[in-house]
């Protein structure tokens, strides 16, 4: 193997690794705040990619209906809960605003944007506006009712949500694969390497997103509240941070990060309704390597996963997925040995 191939594989691995890093960060966040191992993270990627590709193709993405369906469901859940708690009058305005007005407005905006040729930036924004709210809505419907359950029950629920979302993806996007046009036609020659504009976009967006997340967690009160919930749930409740609020926020960030990653990969490969799972799982491998706890370690592991995958696909393209997923076993083993033995929760 010559140096050019080596460099090429490295570059390929780093580009993919950047996306896995974003997903890994979102998974760590969701787990730390809600204890949910969020298997369906990849579905947000697929939904983001397909939504963006459809906007770019001048069509109205089915995500609009998906969003409205979930909003309606969440509204019903909140309504039933409010009636049960005999607090309908007090909560109704809030519930109507968050479950009906906001999703309705976002869906309306998307309908407005679709087909008018506003360009990638507007389509990017519209994609985030459609996919982002799905996070809190999914949390509301599937996870909040059993927020106190064991990690295991939450994990099985996450698998159920994954099945349902993949199925809904097929319903709302159909079986055909889509690929968005590149965000930039630029090609830079750096030494022997050809760097595409798309990979530059990936780097730029990843850096901006990571910086924004860092600022959010270090500087803003809400960001600190999320960290606090992750560190000590009871402590957070005792200072008045609502666990449900923290969960919604974490899921919202996860969905936005997912959609963002989706928009970034949409021009790089053809995305089908069920492609997200495999992409998400690689972010997962990174998050697991970092023990679902450390953000810097997750990012580092994500780049490692990207590079391993790039090399595996060069040397043994047939076995690429196997190599990446088998990576996780020794890591899990090592994590388990390090963990102090406690009686398993039920």
């Amino acid at each position: 193997m010559d140096g050019t191939i080596l460099l090429f594989l490295l570059q390929d691995g780093i580009t993919n690794g950047a996306i896995y890093a974003l997903l890994g960060l979102a998974l760590v966040l969701v787990f730390a705040v809600t204890r949910v191992i969020f298997i369906p993270q990849g579905e947000f990627v697929a939904f983001g990619a397909l939504t963006y590709a459809l906007f770019e193709a001048g069509r109205l993405p089915g995500t609009v209906w998906l969003l409205l369906a979930f909003a309606g469901l969440a509204f019903l859940f909140d309504l039933v809960e409010a009636i049960r708690d005999r607090a309908l009058a007090a909560r109704l305005p809030r519930v109507v605003f968050f479950d009906l007005a906001v999703p309705g407005l976002l869906a309306g905006a998307a309908v407005f944007v679709a087909g008018r040729g506003f360009g990638p930036a507007a389509h990017f924004a519209a994609t985030l506006a459609l996919v982002g709210p799905l996070g809190p809505l999914v949390y509301r419907v599937a996870f909040r009712p059993i927020a106190g359950a064991s990690v295991l029950t939450l994990l099985i629920t996450a698998v159920g949500v994954h099945l349902a979302l993949v199925g809904l993806g097929l319903v709302f996007f159909g079986a055909e694969g889509l690929r968005a046009p590149a965000m930039s036609d630029l090609t830079l020659a750096v030494g022997p390497l050809l760097v595409t504009g798309q990979s530059l976009w990936v780097y730029a967006v990843t850096i901006v997103a990571v910086a924004a997340l860092w600022l959010f967690f270090e500087r803003s009160l809400w960001g600190k509240a999320l960290r606090a919930t992750a560190v000590n749930r009871l402590g957070a409740r005792l200072v008045g941070i609502r666990t449900g609020f923290a969960g919604s926020l974490a899921f919202g960030l996860a969905a936005i990060v997912g959609a963002l990653s989706g928009v970034l990969v949409a021009p790089m490969t053809t995305i089908y309704y069920d492609t997200g799972f495999l992409i998400g799982l690689k972010g997962f491998v990174a998050a697991i390597i970092a023990g679902l706890a450390s953000w810097p370690l997750t990012a580092a592991a994500a780049f490692a996963v990207g590079v391993v995958e790039a090399f595996a696909s060069f040397f043994a393209s047939d076995l690429k997925e196997i190599v990446v997923f088998m990576l996780i076993l020794p890591v899990l083993m090592w994590r388990s040995l390090k963990q102090v033995h406690v009686e398993e929760e039920d």
Partner: protein
């Protein structure tokens, strides 16, 4: 006597089938220090956690500032001015002292929180010195101070302290109790749960002795301190 700030009336708390607290009633008035003492396992912490809403109440009723707390979660109770410093402190160990305090004022308006943090630093100069240190790296006494400081950030009307002296050296215990006594001057009422009966009764206006989930003696703190039955209920000389 004016209406009590906190009115715990005939409360029972159960873990599964086991009733850890049975038929306990007590009141705390504004600006008063009330202590609940008793041996380990008497149900003191359970009572505080149930009052805070962290455990469900099986029977009886808890009213705070004239309002029934039955349907309110922990977070809402914080908003009403009720605050608990739990036995395990529950600090945000990987965050700085200052961030812990800032989060203590999570529900307060920004400007109020800024003023309160200055007051807390005045009260605990040690915390100001260590403002950039991670909470998890502090000593036991400093952690207790941070936990109390964080609780004060929500400007509570009633502060509930669960075993503030637990595991602390005698000199630090004295500091903590002096701070508790100072709080009364600022109008904050205190409900203090302690195993260190002598120190708690010396600081309090009113005391209750719990044994096996029930109140076995109540009265002015000074009277309880002179009562031999307290020694008995601690050492079990029946």
């Amino acid at each position: 006597m004016s209406e009590a700030l906190l009115d715990i009336d005939g409360v029972a708390v159960a873990y599964g089938k086991v009733r850890a607290v049975r038929g306990v009633s007590l009141r705390v008035h504004a600006g008063e220090i009330v202590t609940v003492i008793g041996a380990n396992g008497a149900g003191k912490s359970t009572l505080l956690n149930a009052t805070m809403g962290a455990l469900p109440i099986a029977e009886g009723c808890v009213r705070f500032a004239g309002r029934d707390l039955a349907r309110l979660g922990v977070e809402e109770r914080v908003g009403l001015g009720l605050c608990l410093v739990p036995e395990r402190r529950e600090l945000f160990s990987t965050m700085t002292v200052e961030d812990n305090l800032v989060l203590g004022g999570f529900r307060a308006p920004r400007a109020v929180a800024r003023d309160t943090i200055a007051e807390v630093y005045d009260r605990f100069p040690r915390l100001k010195e260590r403002r950039d240190q991670l909470a998890g790296t502090m000593s036991g006494g400093e952690r207790q101070m941070l936990a109390m400081g964080r609780a004060l950030m929500s400007r509570p009307k009633l502060l509930m302290l669960d075993e503030p002296s637990l595991g602390l050296a005698p000199r630090i215990v004295a500091d903590i109790f002096r701070i508790v006594a100072d709080l009364r001057a600022t109008g904050v009422a205190v409900l203090l749960v302690e195993q260190n009966a002598r120190a708690a009764l010396a600081a309090a206006d009113h005391g209750h002795v719990m044994e096996l989930g029930e109140t076995v003696a109540s009265g002015p703190a000074a009277a309880l301190a002179a009562d031999d039955r307290i020694v008995e209920s601690y050492l079990g000389f029946h």
